[in-house]
């Protein structure tokens, strides 16, 4: 049978099947290298080299947002999205890897830590700090995982629409015959569980490397094919310049507003001739086929505040897990150096596609039939609409595989890190007094990974239609950012105390909860809450991401409370800051 003879959606399905089969194959291959110990299962015996580390860290850091979300946000807010998210991330992520990652890896190797909480309990000499941090980290990570599973299920359903019309019926005509949501999510999470089960952290690193290569290639290929279909990159940008020029900058000018009104009138005249003055006068009306977007302005304060979001990577449990797999401190050098370039390679093409989508017409048809201000507008499907308009099933299947790669690339490490936290920070710490054998830890870890996968899948099915989960995931990044002062001070400030740590967590999370509840009461918890907050004393249109004030107040609370509480003891100082003259002086002064 020729590819052209396949029913719609089946070619895409086969591309997805091949991709998932490749992941299982990697799991099988990695199991051949598996040494059968918990140390190998959780941190790959700390044997991952520089190239694998850079690919796996990048694959874990980038979610589906890097492909779908970046295009959608650029379609809404314009090219400025790249600066506020991608180039900030390039600078700040690399800083976190350099300042936090390398140091945590060294301490992890020196003292045998396998989770963040083990480090914090030891550094602040407080078992109860783990009891506070554990639920906080699980609470922040779970919505993040659920969003990924929802994205995977939706992507599989959309890509395979029409594949089995006699087998799977859907209430939505566009999804008739597609792989149902429950099955798509079951298969994708099941595949992730299988290769994590088979090879643990090594399988995760290998799979992430493959997934990074896939979504980098998919992003570039999609960019070129779409540019070609729109008459070339120059023609595509010129079309935006004529219809929605504000999409090419961060701020709208009065000229942009006047042009919008003019283009809107022309569009109405062209699409609703009966109501237009031109038709009434008997003249033929000609105007844009695409409805213009109302110009938007991103304030400089909002643009600046987005720099606080990427601080969250310093406290991602799954990233900590991957850092520990590094063979040496030197392995981090390539990751620190190449990370900004890799972010650019995936974000720049996707942002350009999103900007072009605001004025795109293919084969005489408007590609995106809604504008950002419409109630039914869904920015996340803009890239999918652009690809669908190409009428190229291979590109559509590759895009589905690329988006799945971005989603599953983060999910595997998240499953593993949660399994590790349950094993080490709860069972081993509380039930076995940190004396579990290696075999017990391996078995417990594997069982908990199964339970975490199952719980996340069931929660996904239960919460699929609950809108607050989408808004909540955005706030989770702010929560991780608010923990940045804690990890930074634990590594670099000898005077940081356990009471300072408690105060920092309480202040950061307290402010975040206040912002979330206030926004929920104002806009309704079932609506998608705008992740921007207003600062007292500033004009109403000046807003920032919540991560900025949350991080600042967490830092202030940590410093103030640490300064008025008893400093850490000499043994702790020697353990974590050994060899520095300042440490010796400080310890001498304290005693």
């Amino acid at each position: 049978m020729l590819l052209a003879d396949l029913p719609p959606g089946q070619l895409q399905l086969w591309i997805i099947v091949v991709y998932l089969a490749a992941l299982i194959l990697l799991g099988v291959l990695s199991s051949a290298a598996f040494r059968g110990t918990a140390h190998d299962y959780f941190v790959a015996s700390r044997g991952v080299g520089p190239v694998l580390l850079v690919l796996s860290v990048f694959g874990t850091t980038m979610t589906a947002f890097a492909i779908q979300g970046s295009s959608g946000e650029a379609w809404v807010a314009g090219a400025g999205v790249y600066g506020k998210m991608a180039s900030w991330s390039g600078i700040v992520h690399a800083a976190c890897f350099f300042l936090i990652g390398v140091k945590l890896w060294t301490l992890g190797k020196r003292h045998g830590y396998q989770t963040q909480i083990q480090f914090f309990r030891d550094r602040f000499q407080s078992s109860n700090l783990g009891a506070v941090l554990f639920p906080a980290l699980v609470l922040l990570q779970t919505p993040y995982i659920i969003i990924g599973i929802i994205g995977a299920g939706n992507m599989i359903a959309a890509a395979t629409a029409g594949a089995f019309p006699g087998l799977f019926h859907s209430e939505s005509p566009q999804l008739n015959g597609s792989i149902p949501f429950w099955l798509g999510t079951l298969v994708s999470t099941g595949v992730v569980w299988l290769y994590v089960w088979l090879g643990g952290a090594r399988a995760t690193a290998w799979a992430n490397a493959l997934q990074t290569l896939i979504f980098l290639v998919v992003g570039v290929v999609t960019f070129w094919v779409i540019a070609d279909k729109l008459g070339g990159a120059e023609a595509a940008t010129r079309a935006v310049q004529q219809l929605n020029p504000s999409k090419l900058a961060r701020a709208a000018t009065p000229d942009d507003e006047r042009l919008y009104q003019q283009r809107l009138a022309e569009w109405k005249a062209a699409t609703q001739p009966a109501a237009s003055a031109a038709a009434a006068a008997g003249r033929a009306a000609s105007g844009p086929a695409v409805r213009p977007h109302k110009p938007r302005t991103m304030t400089e304060l909002e643009f600046l505040s987005y720099g606080a979001i990427p601080l969250s990577v310093a406290m991602f449990p799954h990233l900590f897990q991957l850092w520990l797999t590094a063979r040496s401190a030197k392995s981090f050098r390539l990751t620190v150096t190449l990370h900004p370039l890799l972010i650019m390679a995936i974000w720049a093409p996707c942002v350009a596609i999103g900007v072009w989508a605001s004025a795109a017409v293919m084969d005489g048809k408007v590609v995106v039939p809604f504008t950002p201000d419409m109630p039914n507008a869904n920015p996340n499907i803009v890239l999918g609409l652009m690809v669908r308009a190409l009428d190229a099933p291979v590109i559509s299947g590759l895009l589905a595989a690329g988006v799945l790669a971005a989603i599953l690339g983060g999910m595997d490490a998240q499953f593993l890190s949660l399994g590790s936290m349950f094993t080490h920070d709860v069972v081993d710490h509380y039930a076995r007094g940190n004396h579990m054998t290696d075999r017990q830890r391996l078995l417990t870890g594997r069982v908990f990974v199964i339970l975490v996968v199952l719980a996340c899948w069931l929660l996904t099915l239960a919460l699929r239609e609950a809108k607050p989960i989408f808004g909540l995931a955005v706030w989770c990044f702010s929560g991780f950012s608010a923990l940045f002062p804690l990890v930074f001070a634990a590594l670099y400030w000898r005077r940081a105390t356990k009471w300072g740590a408690y105060a920092s967590i309480a202040a950061g999370f307290g402010l975040g909860a206040y912002y979330y509840v206030s926004a929920g009461l104002a806009h309704g918890f079932t609506s998608r809450i705008e992740p921007l907050v207003h600062l007292p004393g500033l004009p109403a249109d000046y807003a920032v991401v919540p991560a900025l004030p949350m991080t600042i107040i967490a830092a202030v609370a940590l410093v103030l409370v640490s300064l008025v509480t008893r400093p850490p003891d000499r043994a702790t100082m020697e353990k974590f800051f050994r060899g520095t003259a300042a440490t010796r002086d400080y310890a001498a002064a304290r005693n």
Binding site: G83, L248, A249, L304, S328, A329, P340
Partner: protein, 79 residues
């Protein structure tokens, strides 16, 4: 050199705030890239170069000489 690299990184973070092009939608680089987007692609490339320099000149070499921790737990030796 360490000082120079850290100053350059701080300058890069400041240069990120390109308010001077915030309303410029007319200037296109290579005929298709809005100038602010092209500038931020340049920021990403500059970040790669500067973090590469940081790895070369500011790397915490004392961490590389750290002795590996070889506990029984890590080697998988059951207790």
């Amino acid at each position: 050199m360490r000082f120079v690299v850290f100053v350059l990184l701080a300058l890069l973070a400041i240069a990120h705030q390109d308010f001077w092009w915030r309303s410029d939608h007319r200037t296109l680089v290579l005929g298709f890239l809005p100038v602010s987007l092209a500038y931020h692609v340049g920021i990403s490339v500059a970040a790669t170069v500067l973090w590469g320099l940081a790895c070369a000149f500011c790397w915490p070499r004392e961490l590389e000489s750290d002795q590996p921790f070889a506990s029984r737990r890590e080697s998988g030796d059951p207790r």
